[in-house]
Structure formats: structure tokens, C-alpha cells
């Protein structure tokens, strides 16, 4: 690992933490309905929206009502996104005349975007019309992110309130998330990205002449599409010469901004942020990467501020950083060390003035090793899933890091809102075990953790784990599942394991080798993404409702403090041990086996 790699990582982390605090405190004000510096501008927008939709902003909901609102809202989202894809051929803003998207793919995409997963079994520039991109996908980028944040805020209220039967109003929380937080940040980001050269256009794709035409050989095909063979049985080859290139366009900058900020990750183009028109410069790379963790880290401090003890927020943020920072460095080190198979061939892979060194397969030269590995670690730590390099091409260890980060349950930052509520579930489990160790029935933030909370927390841990395991098992033992695997040996297994971790964890990134656009992966993936999202949201809201009902227990000397380094270490221990214990056997058959095989 070069000094430059470390320096870049440090720069990314420092800027992130510096920005997290003001944003976090701003969001706390927003959710508590306190005035902010932009309330005078956006307040009328918020109130207008309530009037238009007939929302009573002060009306309170119980947890069941809240959960029902989340589900209905999301169901409506799935329906609209599905419909728009199916009829995009007859709708405007389709300069490339793309036909309707296939039913199974539409289903998968609809669930994928509504659940904030953004797994993509399609290539954006060759499948989706501009209208679908904007009205279906970008809208869900906002809506799914806001829904996650709303659920988090409801959970925070559960801690904050006592002897209460309600946890807030879903529509108000949604509206505030979008109007005050996601929309202004996205507008700012879109301008920054356009300044770097990210496209924003409604024009048709452009065809330009290549400066250096390319010549290559392809097998000649007969009328049935089968290769024509000569007398010896070898395919007959013919030369092909490419003179020009199609440059895809579209309203990309506006969509890229929210896909990064809202931990969505669904690229405008197929190559996601590896595409030069989606992520053209080192600065755009820095900004987009920063956007991945910006809101998730700031939300920790929002949480601390709202529960009335900012140290609690810092404790969770520090726990997340203490897991992510070392893993980011391990990933960078593994990639900078290069491909072990090349090393044995005597190929120079050291960084020098003339080459970045390391394993550059699947990485963009303008991003380099660190710019790619930091992104890879961050996008999987957060359930973002956008990529600027191909994780499939990483070394065994380098590729295991992103997978492991997903398998920790998407709680190390995780999705906007969803990551932190997942983390709080882990904090509840930690408090339970650690609290027993000090001889008290456990309490977290003044709320006793009892049977109901443990039931729901255990269910959350179980559901994500179970979905990944059973999905992978189904894929590797069925013909349809195995058909999608393109690599032999343990690497092929890693591809499947990664995909199902990504589905259930609502991450959306892929170990690109797997061909996911088949009926099998489209449907099973859709179902898993749905369960991975809502079967977590429901128990989380149930916990919120149950906590809100409880009395507040004041902290005393005998109370286990949950803001101390000791608690942070214990929390990390629980997350890492539960994650590692649950996935070590499967990882042993994938990346670990690959790592030790030279």
C-alpha cells in the first residue's frame, strides 16, 4: 500500500466526519419541526404539499398505522415503476424508441428501486427511456431513501417518548426528508457534477467518428445465428471494422446526485460510476463517494441530538468508522499488492511514476487503486451499491471485504435510515448481553429491553441471514441458478453468494460475473429484496411502538453507559462476531478458498 493510498483514505474519512456534524444537527431540527436556516424558503413548499395531498401534519400514528402507511406507499411505488417500464414505448421522452421492458425484469427493477436496493439486471442506456429513468427510477431514489429515513425517525421517537402510543406521522416525515434534506442536497450535487462533465440532456444519443477505427474478427453466422464452420470444424472468421461510436446521453447528473446521496446506487448507465459520463474526474469521484456515506453518518448525530445525548450518536458513528476504516485499508492493500498469479510470473506490479501498480483489472485508470477500493468499501458498507470498478475483478481478499461488509447486515452506515435502524437493533442486542453482565435487566437510552424487543431484534438478524443463506442454497442447487454463474471454482460461488447478500441486504451492487437477467434471478431477487426491506421495517417499527409505550428509566451509577469506548468495542464485537460466525463457512468455500489457492 503506498503513502498516496493512505493519504486518500484519510482525506475521504476526515471530510466525511467534518461534514457529518452540521448536517446531522440540521436534520434533527428538520424532524423535530424546529425552524432551520432554509425554513423561510422551503416552509411554504412543505405546507403547500400538505394542502395538495390532504395531509394533516400534526396527526399522530401508532406503529401499526405507520407500518401500514410505509407498506401502502411502497406498494404504490412498485406498481407505478412496473407500469412505466411496461408502457414506456408509447410514452414521450423516449428518443431511442426503447420498447417495453420484459415483465420479469420490470418486476425485479420495480422492487429493486422501491426497496432502495437498486440492483440492476438491465443496462440503463440500452433499456430505459428518459421518462422511465426520471419519473420511475429517480422518483423512487428519493421516495425509498425518504421512507428509510422516516422509519428511523419513528424509531428514534420510540426512545424519546414515554408512555406514548404514537410514533409520528409517516407522511410528514417523508415530506420533510425530501423537501428539506434530499432535494436541496441533490440540486447542489447535480450542479457540482455537471461542472465536472456529467451529462444532463434530453437529446438523442450522439454518433461520433472514431479517431482510431478498430478492426476485429468475429465468427461468421448463418441465417439461424449459428457460427459457420469450415471443413476442419473451425469457425469461419470474418473481419469487422468499427468506424464510429454511439455516445449515450440523458438527464444523468440529476439522477446520479440522488443515487449517491440516497444510498440507492442504481446507475444511469450500465457501467454505473465507472462510466466516464457518470463519473468523469477524480473530483467527481471524490464527491460521489463522499455522498454515499454523507447522510448515513450524519444521521447518527441526528439520532444523538434527538434522544438528547449527542454522545450516543457519536458512539454509533465511531463504531461504524472503526469497522469501516480498517476494512477499507485492507481492501486497498490487497488490491495494491496486485494479482498473486502475476507476481508468480515475475510481472512488476509495484506503484511507480509510470504505473499505479496493483490489480488494475476492472478499475478505471482515472480513479486508480485507492479511488476504487475506497468506493468499493463505502458502497457496500452503506447499502448504496453503485460501483466505479468491477468487484468481480478484485483479488480474493479485496473482493471479500465488500461482501463481508454487506453480510454484516448493512449496519456499518448502511442505507439512509435503514443502516442506522439496523445498527440500533444491534445496539439493543449488545445492550442486552452487556447489560446482563453488569447485573441489571438491560436498558438502552432509558428504555428497558424486554421480551418483545428481543423477539423483534432476533427476528431482524434472523431474516437477513436466512434470506442470504436460503437464496444462495437455492441458486447453487438448481439448474437455473447455476446457469447464471460465469466463473469456475470458488470464484463462481462468490458471485452467487455476493448477489444474494446484495439482494437481502438491499445493497444492489453486483460481483459483476453473474448473469442476473434471467427469470430465475429476476423473480427470486425481487422477492428477496422485498423481504429484506419490509420484514426488517415492520419489526423495527414494532420496537418503536413498544419503546414509546414504556416509562423512561433515569440512568444511575449501576446503569450500563452506552457512549463509552468500552461499549463501542463491545458493539463492534457483537456485529463482527455475529456476522463472521454466520458467514465464515460460506466465505470459506468462496473467497477464503480462493485466497489460499495459488
Amino acid at each position: 500500500m503506498s503513502g498516496n493510498d493512505v493519504l486518500q483514505a484519510v482525506a475521504y474519512f476526515v471530510v466525511l466526519v467534518v461534514l457529518a456534524k452540521p448536517l446531522g444537527l440540521f436534520m434533527a431540527r428538520v424532524y423535530e419541526g424546529r425552524p432551520t436556516f432554509i425554513s423561510r424558503v422551503l416552509g411554504p413548499v412543505e405546507r403547500l404539499f400538505y394542502r395538495l395531498c390532504g395531509i394533516q401534519p400534526e396527526e399522530e400514528m401508532g406503529w401499526k398505522q405507520y407500518a401500514l402507511a410505509v407498506l401502502l406507499f411502497s406498494a404504490a411505488g412498485v406498481f407505478v415503476v412496473y407500469l412505466l417500464q411496461r408502457i414506456q414505448g408509447v410514452l414521450p421522452l423516449d428518443p431511442q424508441r426503447f420498447p417495453a421492458v420484459a415483465p420479469d425484469l420490470s418486476f425485479n427493477t420495480a422492487i429493486s428501486f422501491v426497496t432502495n436496493t437498486n440492483w440492476q439486471n438491465y443496462g440503463g442506456e440500452s433499456t430505459m427511456s428518459y421518462l422511465t429513468q426520471m419519473a420511475a427510477l429517480a422518483v423512487q431514489n428519493f421516495a425509498s431513501a425518504a421512507a428509510g429515513m422516516a422509519v428511523l425517525v419513528a424509531l428514534i421517537r420510540g426512545f424519546k417518548r414515554h408512555s406514548a402510543s404514537t410514533i409520528g406521522n409517516f407522511w410528514t416525515d417523508m415530506t420533510r426528508s425530501v423537501v428539506y434534506i434530499l432535494l436541496p442536497l441533490s440540486v447542489l450535487y447535480a450542479f457540482l457534477l455537471v461542472s465536472q462533465g456529467v451529462v444532463q440532456s434530453f437529446d438523442k444519443y450522439k454518433t461520433v467518428a472514431l479517431i482510431q477505427p478498430v478492426t476485429y474478427e468475429t465468427p461468421r453466422l448463418d441465417v439461424h445465428g449459428n457460427p459457420v464452420k469450415d471443413a476442419k470444424g473451425n469457425p469461419v472468421m470474418e473481419k469487422d471494422r468499427v468506424m464510429d461510436q454511439t455516445i449515450p446521453l440523458g438527464p444523468a447528473a440529476s439522477q446520479v446526485a440522488i443515487k449517491q446521496l440516497g444510498t440507492n446506487g442504481g446507475g444511469f448507465f450500465n457501467a454505473n460510476s465507472a462510466h466516464p459520463l457518470e463519473n468523469p474526474t477524480p473530483l467527481s469521484n471524490f464527491l460521489e463517494c463522499l455522498a454515499i456515506l454523507l447522510i448515513p453518518s450524519a444521521l447518527c448525530l441526528t439520532f444523538g441530538d434527538m434522544v438528547g445525548d449527542r454522545r450516543q450518536g457519536w458512539a454509533l458513528l465511531i463504531a461504524m468508522l472503526l469497522v469501516l476504516a480498517p476494512l477499507t485499508l485492507v481492501c486497498t492493500k490487497a488490491e495494491q499488492a496486485g494479482n498473486p498469479h502475476f507476481a508468480s510470473m515475475g510481472i512488476d506490479q509495484a506503484a511507480s511514476a509510470l504505473q499505479p501498480g496493483g490489480n488494475m483489472e476492472g478499475k478505471e485508470v482515472r480513479n486508480g487503486i485507492a479511488g476504487s477500493t475506497i468506493w468499493a468499501a463505502w458502497t457496500t458498507a452503506a447499502s448504496n451499491g453503485s460501483v466505479n470498478s468491477m468487484h468481480d475483478s478484485y483479488t480474493a481478499l479485496g473482493g471479500m471485504i465488500p461482501m463481508l461488509l454487506i453480510q454484516f447486515g448493512e449496519v456499518i452506515f448502511g442505507g439512509v435510515g435503514s443502516g442506522l435502524y439496523g445498527m440500533i437493533i444491534f445496539a439493543i442486542i449488545t445492550v442486552f448481553v452487556a447489560g446482563l453482565m453488569v447485573g441489571r435487566t438491560p436498558e438502552y437510552l432509558g428504555k428497558k429491553i424486554e421480551v418483545f424487543e428481543m423477539k423483534m431484534a432476533a427476528f431482524v438478524v434472523l431474516i437477513v441471514n436466512g434470506l442470504i443463506k436460503t437464496g444462495t442454497a437455492l441458486a447453487v442447487s438448481t439448474k437455473a441458478g447455476v446457469a447464471g454463474i460465469s466463473n469456475p471454482g470458488p470464484h463462481g460461488f462468490s458471485e452467487v453468494l455476493y448477489a444474494f447478500s446484495s439482494f437481502a441486504g438491499n445493497n444492489g451492487s453486483a460481483f459483476a460475473g453473474l448473469n442476473g437477467n434471467s427469470f430465475f434471478y429476476n423473480t427470486i431477487g425481487g422477492v428477496l429484496m422485498f423481504l429484506g426491506r419490509f420484514w426488517v421495517i415492520i419489526p423495527v417499527l414494532a420496537i418503536a411502538g413498544s419503546l414509546a409505550k414504556k416509562k423512561h428509566v433515569p440512568a444511575g451509577l449501576g446503569t450500563l453507559p452506552t457512549h463509552t469506548p468500552l461499549f463501542v468495542i463491545f458493539l463492534i464485537g457483537v456485529i463482527v462476531i455475529v456476522g463472521a460466525l454466520a458467514f465464515m463457512p460460506s466465505l470459506a468455500l468462496g473467497p477464503i478458498a480462493e485466497m489460499f489457492t495459488h
Binding site: F432, V433, A434, G435, L436, M437, V438, G439, R440, T441, G446, I449, E450, V451, E453, M454, K455, A457, A458, F459, V461, N465, G466, K469, T470, T472, A473, V476, S477, V482, P488, G489, P490, F493, H552, V553, P554, G556, L557, G558, T559, L560, P561, L566, F567, F570, G573, I577, A580, L581, A582, M584, P585, S586, A588, L589, I592, A593, F596, T597
Partner: protein
């Protein structure tokens, strides 16, 4: 049974062990096991591997050698048996005590009275036929047939059957000593008792069922932990179940090796699921109750024991708990112009016939300080004036002298009635004494005030240190007293309590408890009188004294047989210990899994990917020995931890932060390291013995 007998019952009494061994086999019944999901999974695994063994033996085409499968399945059965044994051991100790108690619950003939009067007609009736409301006569030598309340008479009663205390106690009608317990014996005199319970619901019955665990229900915290453990078990069930398709796929992908065997999968599963805590959980709970019984406290529910660990606020009666029961005279302070000797002499005379501890202490002080010898009051021809609620004074009339002593306001009223004046100087002495936390007793002769006797509350030795301990544990102590605020404040300061409630009445006590509870705090208190009953019923942890009234005992959820009010502190510690033992063993159990992975994973997959041998960092001899060592370690650790589960993790009154750090180091880090060593040693042993 006496206390000596009890302490003799060591942790591993051979008699209890013998019974526990039998019980643990009986508990293999799956209907019983299903209540404990973790151990049920182990039992199912044992059945499965046993079937695999017979399959391998009979067909000769088993997935592994029959010898290996047999050894694995034997150790799995042993794992279940060890867990059963732990539970039986814990239960056994309770059962032994229950047997002893049951002996005292014999059927006796009772003398039922027709009317609630001693001399009304007597009819003989079996004690088991007595009903609530019946009135019986119990005379010297009789066993009291049922729990009841004395309505007439005074008698000394031997209650050693219940309390283990052999000194007889006085039971009399009215007041706070009117409750009698069935099964205890009247030693002298007679009592007329109204039966207050129906057969089968007596205190003794409840005690037997509690110690026996017959009515033992899982406590909320135990259920919550059970859920966490069941959740982990399902996670690991999924981990191991999916390994079969994963390994089949990997065999195809790698083109070599064989899929993981069922035997290894079951072994891996049993090693991963939290068997250590799962197997010991119910033993920990029972042992917690048992430790209460060892401390001579009967818990009316397991919930009360658990809640004791959570107590935030402790209400303690001043008298008897914080101070020695009685106030002692410590000084004579004469009024201006009065010789101290005169005051001491008058004080002694007025107290000669006063049999209260306070009165005796005045006589002792006069003798020690002023050499005044005790005189015979009858020889002096004196007439003793007893304390009465109206005059609130006592004294003596002798040779025309009228000496009175009493509270300042009472004496003042008396002096005024006699036509004298109460000197202002004496008033300031009285206030000074009160401010120092002592009780002033004014002595007057005729219409002249002689001076003040200072009575001090003697704070019990070592009590201040106990309260400091409580403070470190995060528990607030509040002293309850009927004294005036001045006196209360001084005693509170001397004893080192955090707060006090002066001039307490049953209403103010109840109000104080409710206020703390409304603030989310858990309140514990002790009490014995009927007027304590409402407060006891309101408190979260209520310790009733066994000498107390039936009402107090009904209201409490713990009964202290020793009737020692400081017992609360011990009770809190036992409660904390119970929770801590659960927490530490859970941490230990989960931390153990890391080492087991390093033992079993390379063994399971080495035929598919030989490179995974790199994970065999313990250098275990063969794949079979590795799996077997992990399974053996997993079983043995349960046995090794039984003493810890029964005794409980040692509790030291330190802050939560320090306790967590210590326990995390011992049981967390220890839990990571110990199995590496243990598994390696077992592997070396079984390799040396050629077991696989």
C-alpha cells in the same frame, strides 16, 4: 433444620448428585427437552447421528467409519445429559430442602373452638380439614395446625422448623407479633388462633412449592434471553443446513473431494449453537432461587429475585436496620443552677422501674458516670408512674417527690399545669440535642426542670460502609423514620444514607414509593407491621420479616426468615449475581464459536479445497480428530461450568463500567482463547489414545 445443617449441604452433596444423575436420564424425554430449544436441537442431532451409526454399521456404506460416527453420537448424548445434570443438580438442592419442610407439614389433630373464646366448647378435627375463619386453641406442646392470627393469649413458640432459628419467639394477640405459622410448636402457655388460610395455601405449602420449583415459571428476562438463544440457534441451523448444497456445488466446481458429511454438519451445528448457556440457563435460574434460600429468604416468585438486581432505591427503616434497635442515654445536661449529680440522681430514680432499654441505659449511665448504685425501688417505697399515651411521660412518686421524664413538649405542658415555667435555656439545650441527631428527654421534679437526658441512636457498626457500597452499585438509600427532621438528618448524616423521610406515616411512605416509581425507578423496602402492608404491596421488591404480621407477609414478594432488615443488601446482590451469570455465560458461549470454526471448517472442506488446511491453525492431527475434539470440548465445558452456574459469578460492588470491563475480559476474551487450548489438548489426547 438448623443453620449448621444447611451450611453442611455443600455444592456437591453425594446424595444430591446421585439423584441428579437419575433425573438427567429421565429428562431425555423429548417432551421435556422441547422447552429448551437449544438442547432439543442437540438431542435431535444425537438421534440423527445414532441412526447414521447404525446405518454405517449395518450397510457398511456409511458416510464415515462407524467408529467415528459412534464416538460423535456418544458425545452428543453426553452433551444433553450434562445439561440435564446441571439442571437436576440445581433442582436437587431445592428438593432436599422441600423434603425437610414437608416433614414439618404433618397432619395434626386440632382443637377447634365453637366460639372465638378460650373456654368455649372444643371439638377435635384434623388440621387438613380446617378452613379459613375457623378458630382453634393451641396449648403448650401442641403444633399450630394452620397459618393464622392470634386473637387471644400470649405464648412462646418454636419456629425453628421454618426459620432454622432455635430460640423461641413470643406470639401474642394484637400488634405486630400476632401471626403464627402452621407447623410451628407452642412451647408454653396457650393461644387462640383464627385460621387465615385454606389447606394447601399455607405459607409452608407455598414455601415448599417455591423451593421445589414446582411452580417455577420462566422469568421475563429468562424468556428474552431464550429468544436470543433460539434466534442464534436458527441462524446456525441455517448456516449448517445450507453448507450441504454449498459443498455439493463446490465439489462440482472444484472437480474433487466429497461433500461435507451429515455427521460433521451435526457436530458443527452442536458446536456453534450456544449449548453452554442453553444447557446451564435453567440451572442458573434455579440456583439463584436456591441462593436466596441459603440466605434464609423465601422468594415468592423468580421474578422478585430478578427484580432485586435492578433495584434503584432502597427504603430502610431507621430503627433496627440503620441503628441498633434502642436508643442509649449518653449524657446528663443539667438546667442552669442545677447540679449534675442531682439530675443524675433524679433520672436514675425515675428509671429504676422502667424496663425499657432506654430506661435501663439511664440507670447504667448514672452508675458509670456518677457512681450511683442501683437501688431497690420497693425498699424506697416508691410508686412507679408508667408511660401512657396521654401524658407521654413516665416517672416515680416517692416521699412526696414527683419526678417525671418525657419529651420536651409533654414535660412543658406538665410544668405549666403545675404552675411552673419552662426555662428558655432548657429549650435551647433541647434544640441542640435534637440537632445533633439525639433524642432529648426532659427531667422535672415538681414544677422545677432539672435538665435533659441525651438519648443517642447508636448507628450499627459497618453500616456506613455498606451504604457506600450501595452507592457504588448505583443504589440510592433512603432512611425512613418517625423522628423529627432534625434528628433524622443527623442520623442520616452519621449513617451515610443518601436521603431520609422524617415523621414517616404509612401514607407518606406509600407516596414516596409512588414518586420514585413514577420516575421510572425500582423500589425495594422491608417491613413487618400491618401498616407497612400498603407500602410493601406497592414496592417492586418487598421483603417481609417472618416475625411480621400475616398482612405484611402477604404483601411482600420475599420473606426473610431471619427477620434481618439489612438482608435487603444481600438480596440485591443475589439478584445481580443471577443476571450477571446469565450474561457472562452467554458471552462465553458465543465467543467459544470462533475456535470451533478453526477446528471444524478446515476439517470439513479440506477434501474439496486442500488449501483450506491453512485455517487449521491449531494443527489438529486429522479431520476426524479435529471434529471429535471440538464436540468433546463442547460437552466438557458444560460440566466445568456447573459450579459457576450454581454459585453464580462473583459480584463486587463496582460501577457498571468496571464490572463490564472485568467480565468482558474474563468471559469474552477468555471465551475466545480457552477453546483453542482445550481443543488442542483434547486433540493431542485422543490422537495419543488412537481413538480416531
Amino acid at each position: 433444620m438448623s443453620k449448621k445443617e444447611k451450611s453442611k449441604r455443600s455444592l456437591f452433596d453425594p446424595k444430591i448428585i446421585r439423584r441428579a444423575l437419575w433425573d438427567s436420564v429421565g429428562k431425555l424425554n423429548p417432551v421435556y427437552q422441547i422447552k429448551n430449544p437449544v438442547m432439543f436441537v442437540v438431542e435431535v442431532g444425537s438421534v440423527l447421528t445414532t441412526a447414521l451409526f447404525f446405518h454405517a454399521l449395518i450397510t457398511g456404506r456409511g458416510e464415515a467409519s462407524p467408529g467415528f460416527i459412534l464416538q460423535i453420537s456418544i458425545w452428543l448424548w453426553i452433551t444433553v445429559l450434562f445439561a440435564n445434570f446441571a439442571e437436576s443438580m440445581a433442582e436437587g438442592r431445592g428438593k432436599a430442602q422441600a423434603d425437610a419442610l414437608r416433614k414439618t407439614r404433618q397432619d395434626v389433630m386440632a382443637k377447634r373452638l365453637a366460639k372465638p373464646q378460650k373456654d368455649s366448647g372444643i371439638s377435635q378435627i384434623s388440621s387438613s380439614k380446617l378452613k379459613k375463619g375457623d378458630v382453634v386453641l393451641v396449648e403448650a406442646g401442641d403444633v399450630i395446625p394452620m397459618d393464622g392470627e392470634v386473637i387471644e393469649g400470649v405464648a412462646s413458640v418454636n419456629e425453628s422448623a421454618i426459620t432454622g432459628e432455635s430460640a423461641p419467639v413470643i406470639r401474642e394477640s394484637g400488634g405486630d407479633r400476632s401471626a403464627v405459622t402452621g407447623g410451628t410448636m407452642v412451647l408454653s402457655d396457650w393461644l387462640v388462633v383464627r385460621v387465615t388460610t385454606n389447606p394447601g395455601e399455607t405459607f409452608l405449602d407455598r414455601m415448599i412449592s417455591m423451593v421445589e420449583g414446582a411452580k417455577r415459571q420462566k422469568t421475563p428476562n429468562e424468556i428474552a434471553l431464550d429468544i436470543l438463544l433460539a434466534g442464534l440457534t436458527i441462524v446456525f441451523l441455517l448456516v449448517t443446513a445450507t453448507l450441504l448444497p454449498f459443498s455439493i456445488f463446490s465439489v462440482n466446481a472444484a472437480g474433487q473431494g466429497s461433500p461435507v458429511t451429515m455427521t460433521v454438519l451435526v457436530s458443527l451445528l452442536v458446536c456453534l449453537i450456544p449449548t453452554t448457556i442453553g444447557g446451564l440457563l435453567s440451572a442458573i435460574g434455579i440456583a439463584g432461587m436456591d441462593r436466596m434460600i441459603q440466605a434464609n429468604v423465601i422468594a415468592m416468585s423468580g421474578r422478585a429475585v430478578e427484580a432485586a438486581g435492578d433495584v434503584d432505591v432502597l427504603l430502610l427503616d431507621k430503627t433496627g436496620t440503620i441503628t441498633l434497635g434502642d436508643r442509649q442515654a449518653t449524657m446528663f445536661i443539667p438546667a442552669p443552677g442545677v447540679d449534675t449529680h442531682v439530675l443524675a440522681d433524679a433520672s436514675q430514680l425515675s428509671s429504676l422501674a422502667d424496663e425499657t432499654p432506654e430506661g435501663r441505659s439511664i440507670v447504667v449511665l448514672a452508675k458509670e458516670k456518677y457512681g450511683l448504685r442501683e437501688r431497690d425501688i420497693h425498699a424506697l417505697g416508691a410508686h412507679f408512674v408508667e408511660f401512657s399515651a396521654q401524658t407521654r411521660m413516665s416517672g416515680v412518686n416517692m416521699d412526696g417527690r414527683e419526678i417525671r421524664k418525657g419529651a420536651a413538649d409533654a414535660v412543658e405542658k406538665y410544668i405549666q399545669k403545675e404552675g411552673g415555667t419552662f426555662p428558655a435555656e432548657v429549650r435551647s439545650i433541647v434544640d441542640d440535642v435534637a440537632r445533633q441527631g439525639a433524642t432529648p428527654l426532659v427531667v422535672a421534679e415538681g414544677k422545677k426542670v432539672l435538665g435533659v437526658i441525651r438519648l443517642n441512636d447508636i448507628v450499627k457498626g459497618g453500616i456506613k460502609e455498606r451504604f457506600a457500597e450501595m452507592r457504588r452499585m448505583g443504589i440510592k438509600t433512603i432512611m425512613i423514620t418517625g423522628d423529627n427532621p432534625l434528628t433524622a438528618a443527623a442520623v442520616a448524616a452519621e449513617a451515610g444514607v443518601d436521603d431520609f423521610l422524617a415523621q414517616a406515616t404509612p401514607e407518606t411512605k406509600l407516596k414516596l414509593i409512588r414518586e420514585h416509581q413514577a420516575g421510572g425507578r425500582l423500589v425495594a423496602m422491608t417491613g413487618d407491621g400491618t401498616n407497612d402492608a400498603p407500602a410493601l404491596a406497592q414496592a417492586d421488591v418487598a421483603v417481609a420479616m417472618n416475625t411480621g404480621t400475616q398482612a405484611a407477609k402477604e404483601a411482600g414478594n420475599l420473606v426473610d426468615l431471619d427477620s434481618n432488615p439489612t438482608k435487603l443488601i444481600e438480596i440485591v446482590e443475589i439478584g445481580k449475581q443471577l443476571l450477571m451469570t446469565r450474561g457472562t455465560l452467554t458471552t462465553f458461549s458465543i465467543a467459544n464459536d470462533v475456535a470451533k470454526y478453526f477446528a471444524i471448517l478446515p476439517a470439513a472442506f479440506i477434501s474439496i479445497y486442500p488449501a483450506l488446511g491453512a485455517l487449521n491453525i491449531m494443527h489438529l492431527a486429522t479431520p476426524q480428530s479435529a471434529v471429535l475434539s471440538a464436540v468433546i470440548f463442547n460437552a466438557l465445558i458444560i460440566i466445568f461450568l456447573i459450579p459457576l452456574a450454581l454459585r453464580g459469578v462473583k459480584y463486587k460492588p463496582l460501577g457498571a463500567q468496571v464490572v463490564l470491563r472485568n467480565n468482558a475480559l474474563i468471559y469474552g476474551i477468555g471465551g475466545l482463547i480457552v477453546p483453542f487450548i482445550g481443543i488442542k489438548l483434547i486433540d493431542m489426547l485422543i490422537t495419543a489414545l488412537h481413538m480416531v
